[in-house]
Structures are given as structure tokens and as C-alpha cells.
Amino acid sequence: MRKILMAVMRIKDDFVNQPMLMTLYCIGTIICVTVFIVFFGSFNALMDKYEDVSKASREYYVFFKDHYNVSSKDFSFLEKYGIQEIVASDDLEGYAQSELEIYNSKKSFNANCVKIVFKENISAMENSNIIQDISQKMDGKYGDIYISPPYGGSATEDLSSYYRTLINLILIYVICFIGCGYLFKYVFNTSKYENTIYSLVGASKGNVVKIMLIESVILCLSGCAVAIILHLLFKDNILSMIYLEDSTYSFLDYVYIVLFTFLLSIATTIPFFIGYIRNPILKTKREL
């Protein structure tokens, strides 16, 4: 508790003694966290998109003219290609009104469309075999059928804009992070005098490091809190300009962001603290 109190007092003093440096450090931290939040959401969006694109290259749609009661066993002839899921749906002009996952289930569903997703990517040869198999086994039995083969576009092409945005975000983050690191170095150097006095009056190096660590964690978490508030306030207008579409955030996402920032702030400060611990008190005193 005493260490927390001392850390808070040090932060207060830092703001009084070097307002410009501390303001820049705080702004840097807030920008860093905000960029990371945007990156986190965009990365999730990319992963979702990647999954969609990947799935699209493995999924077949079979459309019937009428509704039929379909179940998993009707598609057992496709097992040899490795099925991931089969979804039967009541389709109206390309939109599923209702649907049911029927693969590995005994349930049947009155559907006019069935989506079959395979586990692995489909080669050209397999594609023609699958289409042939479906036609042979289902055509006639289910009236006239129409088979929509997997999406043929290039996944890389589709995701290139996502990658560009993410790389830009990483670059901005790295620049902000390096800037923050330098500012922290200045903050750390200016606190050397005070740390030496702590040692003189009987603080162990461990105690001094704990105070410094609490100080940097308080600053980092405060920056996190401000960044999250700013993100919540501006995510739908200003920040949406640099977002990837479909970036969504859950409460757990924010927890991960805070946790990551917290761990990163500790990891960044560790080299400074090791340097401090290794230096004899007298050396630090002489450097002043």
C-alpha cells in the first residue's frame, strides 16, 4: 500500500516538474493503445474474413426446385471427400429463411437448399468428381437440381486490402511504441536522483524497482482506460475511417487488450530495472 502511495505521489510530482514530458508520454501511451485496439479488431475481422474465404473455397450449394426432407445420410456418398458440415436451409432468393446443421445428426429438415462444406481444399479433379457424384445420386431423386460449386476467386486478392491496413497499423504502432520507449527512458533518467535518495534513506533496490514498476503500470493502465473510453466514443465515426469493416469488440476483447498492454509495459520497463539493479548505488549517486 505504501509503495502504491509513493508511486502515485511520484506521478503527481512528475506531472508538476516536467508537464511537457509527462503529457507527451501519456498521449503516446493513449495513441499506442488506441492503435492496438484498432489493430486487434481489424485482425479479428481479417481472421473472420480469412475463415469465410477459406470456407467459400470448400463449400458447395445444391438447390432443389421444391422442398424435400433431407438428412445427413442422403449425403453419405460424399464422406470419402471429408465432410466438415452440411447445412440444410429454406432458401428464398439466395437468403436462408431458416437452416439446420444436419451433419452427424439424425434430424431431417424440409429444405430447398443444402450447403456442404468439405474439410480440405478441393482440387479441380475432385471438384468435377464431386459435381458428378452429386448429379448422379441426387438428380431425379430430388427433381431438377442446381449445383453451385465453390467460390473460385483468389483468396489472396480478396484479403490484400486487409493485409495493407494491418501492416499500416503495425507500422504506426511500432513508431508510437518506440516514441513511448524513448519518453519512458527520459522519465526514468529524471527519476534517478530521487531513486538514489530512496536508497540513501534505506530503500532496498527491490523496493525502488517495485515503486517504479507500480508507477509505470499505473500510467499504462490509465492510458489504457482513456484509450478504451476514446475508442468506445469514437469507434463509429472518427476511428471507423481506419478500421477494417466488420471489426467488432466484445468485453473479453477489451480484457485481452488491457492484459496485453499491461504485460508489454512490464516487458518494456524490465531492461531499465535490470540496469538499475546491476548498478551499485554509489555509481548512480556519482552519475547525478
Binding site: 505504501r2 509513493m6 505521489m9 510530482d13 508538476v16 516538474n17 536522483y193 530521487e194 538514489t196 535518495i197 530512496y198 536508497s199 540513501l200 534513506v201 534505506g202 530503500a203 532496498s204 533496490k205 527491490g206 523496493n207 551499485p280 548505488i281 554509489l282 549517486k285
Partner: protein
């Protein structure tokens, strides 16, 4: 009681092949009883500040033995050494070593933050210490608002707030005029006499050394004279 036997300390100057070793202290033997007042004198570079830093457990030594109240200092961990500095030693330095951005009270309370002192008692103890050095009325001021003499008084209050058995003063009057210097030395001597605190003063000024009963002169890292 402080006891030093055959203590040696050397520094490496330079790096790699061009480095050379300089002996800062050589076979120092010194026994200081509780409540003594000792002036350590010597020319610049004689080794007096090195000795004071070792006495204050701020610096290590190469060989020999150094004990405070029977406890060998060389074997102490950083944590234990810090605890001993906090409990037994108070520092009064030439540059005052105060934190200017903090209030007088906070500067004096600082050692108590690292002790077992109850939080509620800290301010009370700081008040008492400041009363003893005669500047209780300045308690709420920032240290940069004080004069040199007042700042040194704050440093003395900080040194005595934990009721240590030893005060180490490194050129305590070095930044002060002669009148203020004598006031500061009077104050230190008063604590030495009334509270039985061992006072060790490093100085190059005869007028300051004359306050102490015992004078140790160091030259080239060796004790040249030790007069009581």
C-alpha cells in the same frame, strides 16, 4: 559500535588492457565506540569519502572486516543492508540530497516509508524531528523555498527521524556560509551529546573538524593519524 579491521578497497580505472588499479583504502583499522564524534580529514582524493561510503553501506570493499554492532557488513544482502541503513544510519550530505518537488514534511518522512513505522505516526515523527532542528514552522513548504541552512536542517531532521545510532556527514557545511556552518555543526554535536548518536564527519575544514573529539587523518588511503 563500528569496527573496521584491515579494510582494503581499490578501484579499476580504464577498461581492457589499459586499465589500472588504484588503491583507495589500504589496511584501514578503526574502532568507533557508540556516541563518539569523529572527524575524518584528508586532502582531496585521500580516500575519506570512500571510507564514508563504506561506513554508510553504499559501497563494497575488497578485503578486511567491517562490522556495525557486531554484524559483518560484507555478508549482508541488499535488502538487509538497506534495512541497516534505514535503522542505524542517517546521512547528511554537502548537497543536502533533498527532493525539491516534495514538501519538507515528505522529505523528512521519506525514511519512515521504508521502515516499520505506522502510517499514522509518520507525520508526528517528522514534526518532532523538525522541531528538534528548529524549523517546524516550515513543515508545509517545498524544500526549494528554503535557505541553504534550512535545507541542511531538513536533511538533519531526515537523518534523525528514524532515531539512528550513527550519523554520517559528508562535508555537511560545504555549501554554507561560516555562521550557518557553525549553527549546523552545533546542531549535529547536540544530537551527538544528548542522544548519544555516533557522529562521523568527513571534512577538509579545520573549523569543522575541531567540533569533534577525535580526528582521523587519511592520506593516500591509509590512516596517518588518529588523535583523541
Amino acid at each position: 559500535m563500528i569496527e573496521i579491521k584491515d579494510l582494503c578497497k581499490s578501484y579499476k580505472i580504464g577498461k581492457g588492457k589499459n586499465s589500472s588499479e588504484t588503491k583507495a583504502l589500504e589496511n584501514i583499522c578503526l574502532k568507533i565506540e557508540d556516541g563518539e564524534s569523529v572527524a575524518i580529514r584528508g586532502k582531496s582524493g585521500a580516500g575519506k569519502s570512500t571510507l564514508l561510503n563504506i561506513l554508510g553501506i553504499l559501497d563494497s570493499y575488497d578485503s578486511g572486516s567491517f562490522t556495525i554492532d557486531g554484524e559483518e557488513i560484507k555478508n549482508l544482502s541488499d535488502k538487509k543492508a538497506a534495512k541497516m541503513r534505514n535503522k542505524k544510519i542517517g546521512f547528511v550530505l554537502q548537497d543536502f540530497s533533498l527532493i525539491d518537488s516534495k514538501s519538507v514534511a515528505m522529505n523528512v518522512m521519506l525514511p519512515l516509508f521504508f521502515s516499520d513505522c505506522e502510517y499514522k505516526e509518520m507525520y508526528k515523527k517528522a514534526e518532532n524531528a523538525l522541531e528538534l532542528v528548529g524549523i517546524k514552522d516550515q513543515i508545509k513548504k517545498k524544500t526549494y523555498q528554503l535557505s541553504g541552512g534550512q535545507r541542511q536542517r531538513v536533511a538533519i531532521a531526515r537523518a534523525i527521524v528514524t532515531e539512528p545510532s550513527i550519523i554520517l556527514a559528508d562535508e555537511p557545511t560545504g555549501s554554507l556560509d561560516s555562521e550557518t556552518s557553525s549553527q549546523i555543526m552545533d546542531l549535529l554535536m547536540e544530537f551527538n551529546k544528548t542522544k548519544n548518536i555516533t557522529l562521523i564527519v568527513v571534512t577538509h575544514e579545520d573549523s569543522v573538524a575541531d567540533y569533534c573529539k577525535r580526528k582521523v587523518v587519511i592520506s593516500d588511503g591509509k590512516i596517518k593519524t588518529d588523535n583523541t
